[in-house]
Symmetry: C2
Subunit: 95 residues, 2 copies
Amino acid sequence: MIRLSVLYPSTEGAKFDHDYYRNTHVPLCVKTWGLDGAEIDKGVDGPYVAAVHFKFASPEALQGAMAAEGTGAIMADVPNYTTIQPVLQTSEIVD
Amino acid sequence: MIRLSVLYPSTEGAKFDHDYYRNTHVPLCVKTWGLDGAEIDKGVDGPYVAAVHFKFASPEALQGAMAAEGTGAIMADVPNYTTIQPVLQTSEIVD
């Protein structure tokens, strides 16, 4: 199982609309990529103001999602909730 | 629900023993803190070579774990698997 974590670093003067992220953007990702769901984080302490964790069955499934037709619309939606450039982390879930 | 993510930045020349982390260190955390489990990541792409995600029922449960008697032994075990200084992120799981 592969985890894609998208981490938004706290950035002075930047905006992040947690409600839009939760109610509109992440559901769009889940629908576009045909996932069961995603876990959304609202930062309490640490370097990130928000994050989302998606799980994919394999590296190929992740690659397929990134190349999917709807992924362009997902990217185009980002300015609707934030000005922060996210950090992307791909990992194998070992346990 | 509160997530504590412990993220290990890729660091040139640093060691990280994934087997020890998975088989010894994280199980010690889970046992000490009385958790159901934890999710362990092995980095594939991105800034982190490894990570773990623990879930706590509340901020108070996390605080209690950090202050628990066994947490000193957990900290003392870190040099057994890595020389990397981890990044800690605490978040509220909103979805």
